[in-house]
């Protein structure tokens, strides 16, 4: 039980470090580590990752707002359609097999790796 909590702590720290180092979202680290390390199902991993992201993004955006880096109108322009996308994405996710979710996620990681290599 304690080692489980330690693993969760390590995943949180790794997710945060990844964001702090490279500006990549924590989710791309959290989801695969929950699957590979804690044996989560793909759907549970994504749902739990989003719970963590709510906390992470809320804290980070508050800090960024103090530096005056946040542009709310543009956030709304991107974020309001994104809410519709999130509803569609979560609904779609319930209709596809877990292994397909894992494979799509592997594809996302390849894109992330490609962006890092080409940057």
């Amino acid at each position: 039980m304690a080692s489980r909590t330690l693993k969760l702590a390590a995943i949180g720290t790794a997710g945060g470090a990844f964001s702090g180092l490279l500006g990549v979202g924590g989710g791309s680290v959290i989801v695969p580590l929950l699957i590979v390390w804690l044996g989560y199902g793909a759907r549970e991993a994504t749902g739990t990752s989003l719970m963590a992201i709510v906390v992470i993004a809320a804290v980070a955006v508050t800090l960024q707002a103090f530096y005056g880096n946040v542009d709310p109108p543009n956030a709304a322009l991107v974020g309001i359609p994104a809410i519709g996308g999130a509803l569609a994405g979560t609904a779609l996710q319930q209709r596809i097999p877990e292994r397909t979710i894992s494979l799509l996620f592997a594809g996302l990681l390849v894109v992330v790796a490609g962006k890092l290599i080409l940057s």
């Binding site: 702590a9 949180g12 720290t13 790794a14 997710g15 945060g16 470090a17 990844f18 180092l21 490279l22 990549v24 979202g25 989710g27 791309s28 959290i30 989801v31 695969p32 699957i35 549970e44 994504t46 749902g47 739990t48 990752s49 719970m51 963590a52 992201i53 709510v54 906390v55 993004a57 980070a60 955006v61 960024q64 880096n69 542009d71 709310p72 543009n74 956030a75 322009l77 991107v78 974020g79 994104a82 809410i83 519709g84 996308g85 999130a86 509803l87 994405g89 779609l92 996710q93 292994r99 799509l104 996620f105 592997a106 594809g107 996302l108 990681l109 894109v111 790796a113 890092l116 290599i117």
Partner: protein, 130 residues
């Protein structure tokens, strides 16, 4: 015109976020930088504001589907600021290019592990497609 493109990218980012459990920043940041003319720093900061409602809505839906372990998510979220601090310090002391290549390599290793796990036949695999 570019606002429409940004909105479409936003929708797509939200969809990726909901489907794969990430914030959607992978598409929000380029949408803000390319179509709305934000600098990289402002694009990343503004992307975070777009991520908050996306993640909230997706979590609300996933709670309904029974796919959220709330305590685990809160533990991960609460501890990630420590990692951010470590990351920021490290990024100022290690060459950026080395970090990028290291993390790209790690991402590819994890991707390979996910593929291996997904393709491995498992006894419970049939239930999932039911």
């Amino acid at each position: 015109m570019s606002s429409v493109a940004a909105a479409i990218m936003g929708f797509a980012g939200g969809m990726v976020g909901g489907l794969l459990g990430v914030g959607g920043g992978v598409l929000f940041v380029p949408a803000l930088a390319i179509f709305l003319g934000e600098t990289q720093v402002r694009a990343e900061a503004t992307s975070l504001l777009a991520i908050v409602p996306v993640a909230l809505v997706a979590v609300w839906r996933q709670l309904g589907y029974g796919n959220v372990r709330v305590r685990d998510g809160l533990v991960i979220g609460a501890l990630s600021p420590i990692g951010v601090g470590i990351g920021v310090v490290a990024s100022n002391s290690i060459p950026q290019r080395a970090l990028e290549l290291t993390f790209a390599g790690l991402a590819l290793v994890i991707a390979a592990q996910l593929v291996i796990r997904a393709l491995r036949p498992r006894p419970d695999a049939q239930e999932e497609s039911a």
